[in-house]
């Protein structure tokens, strides 16, 4: 190749430059390049359809300014026999509500006809999983107490302690740790401590521990956008007599502001004091309760901008 004169060289470079420029503009350059340096980070949400997996508090919390009305219902176990229409004739219910008093803080109250129990709780969000996964999971602290009003079937002498107001109280503290793994799959683990001031209600067995530990394990998988399959298992660590660990499976169906949860469970009670530590039914012998939860959200206070 012959040596080009400087001016020819320059012309060549310039025309090449214009040519590439032309090419470049034809394939629409990414004008937004450089704006993406800072990745936007959002808290991960919608891990579950509502604030309960089935019985366990889920990774979802009632938002600030929202009131969530909870109507929970368990029929008697399927092994109740034909006379009780396999459990259908007996209704175990808990009616309660949860309210978001501050960002990441919820109070709740409920009353159940199971042992005439009133339970209250406070939930605090410790941290939330983020979309960039810098915070890889969500943690919530749940703490509560319950008062059991049902008359004891044993006397003060038998129990060896005073059957007073204090003896009717139970406490719980729970960490709800979990992660939304994908659009459809969420997992959570709920290490729990339960304390019953008396373990003697409805039994004469004295060997039960007053303090129990439990680790709830729960998951949900989406079937469609608005329906999910849920499961939870809550093995108890400690001497809990003949009481059985809770195992529940169910479906969530979301319709606008309502979430309907239909499930099968061996827990009759609907407060942690009952569904974790006081299950006398087991799946093995047909002690399965059909039940449902209805959640309805009412917006009390709108978000501030």
């Amino acid at each position: 190749m012959k040596k080009l004169k400087p001016i020819g060289k320059a012309l060549l470079i310039i025309s090449a430059f214009f040519f590439t420029q032309q090419l470049y503009s034809q394939e629409t350059p990414d004008l937004l390049a450089g704006l993406d340096n800072e990745e936007e980070v959002y808290p991960v949400t919608n891990e579950f359809k509502t604030t309960q997996v089935i019985n366990l508090p889920s990774l979802m919390m009632t938002d600030i300014g929202e009131f969530d009305l909870k109507i929970n219902h368990r029929f008697n176990p399927l092994n109740s026999g034909a006379y009780d229409a396999f459990g259908f004739d007996v209704a175990n219910i808990r009616i309660g509500g949860e309210y978001g008093i501050a960002k990441g803080m919820v109070i709740g109250l409920g009353r159940s006809n199971v042992a005439k129990q009133t339970d209250a709780f406070l939930e605090c969000k410790l941290f939330n999983q983020t979309t960039d996964n810098k915070i890889p999971f969500t943690a919530i602290l749940y703490a509560g107490s319950a008062y059991t009003a049902q008359k004891y079937t044993f006397t003060q002498t038998e129990s060896g302690r005073e059957v007073d107001f204090k003896s009717r109280l139970a406490y719980t503290a729970q960490l709800v740790l979990g992660k939304k793994l994908s659009n459809s799959l969420s997992l959570q683990v709920s290490p729990t401590v339960l304390h019953y001031n008396t373990t003697k209600a409805n039994t004469s067995d004295d060997k039960f521990d007053n303090t129990l530990m439990a680790v709830g394990i729960a998951a949900r998988a989406k079937i469609t956008t608005r329906t999910t399959f849920n499961a939870e298992w809550i093995p108890v660590i400690g001497n809990n007599g003949n009481y059985k660990n809770a195992l529940s499976i169910g479906f969530d169906i979301e319709t606008g502001g309502h979430v309907f949860q239909l499930h099968l469970t061996n827990s009759r009670g609907m407060s942690p004091y009952q569904y974790i530590g006081r299950n006398d039914q087991s799946w093995g012998d047909g002690g399965i309760h059909f039940g449902f939860n209805i959640s309805r959200i009412f917006n009390i206070v709108n978000h501030e901008e």
Binding site: K9, A10, L31, L35, Y42, S182, R226, E305
Partner: protein, 179 residues
């Protein structure tokens, strides 16, 4: 040789000056769905936008999670059930001003334009022409547009039970001040 270099430098400078790209990452987009049952409105203030004054090319990108609602349940439903943000985290628009000579970038004023391009949301891309305005103020363009879209065009499923609460046409407002 010196002459050539200076000529080259001048040429490059002229091109880069001519092809100025104005950008922002704090533009706003809001939308409203009006029905007799209820109004649903949300706003994002983290809209990324850019316009190339030479070619008239415009681009927008929004993280769908950035839309803020007054009712948090609406926000959750929007993210989970309608826009499915975990699957489709971003909505984008890429287009071009059809009358590229309409805007005098150096002169303050309001220029009415049409932008033809592709709107992508919920994983669906559609060709669309959006009427808008370029307002040049102190040498910086403000991009404004108001238009309507139909959720069904973007395969956003609305169940029968909520169809009376979500408008067939969603009104969208764009307001981005670029630098």
């Amino acid at each position: 040789m010196k002459k050539i270099i200076s000529f080259l430098a001048l040429a490059i400078f002229a091109i880069s000056a001519f092809a100025q790209v104005y950008k922002t990452s704090t533009g706003t987009v809001d939308f409203i769905s009006k029905t007799p049952a209820e109004d649903i409105a949300a706003k994002s203030s983290k809209v990324k936008a850019a316009i190339d004054s030479k070619s008239g090319a415009v681009q927008f990108a929004i993280s769908v999670n950035s839309f803020q609602f007054k009712k948090s349940l609406m926000q959750k439903h929007f993210q989970e059930n309608y826009m499915e943000t975990k699957k489709y985290p971003k909505s984008t628009f890429k287009g071009k001003i059809t009358e590229s000579t309409a805007v005098q970038w150096e002169k303050d004023g309001t220029y009415t334009v049409n932008v033809k391009g592709k709107l992508t949301m919920h994983g669906v891309s559609k060709a669309i022409t959006i009427p808008g305005k370029v307002i040049v103020k102190e040498g910086k363009p403000i991009l404004k547009a108001t238009f309507k879209i139909k959720p069904q065009d973007y395969k956003i499923k609305i169940p029968a039970s909520t169809s009376s609460k979500i408008a067939k046409d969603i009104a969208i407002n764009v307001n981005c001040t670029c630098n």
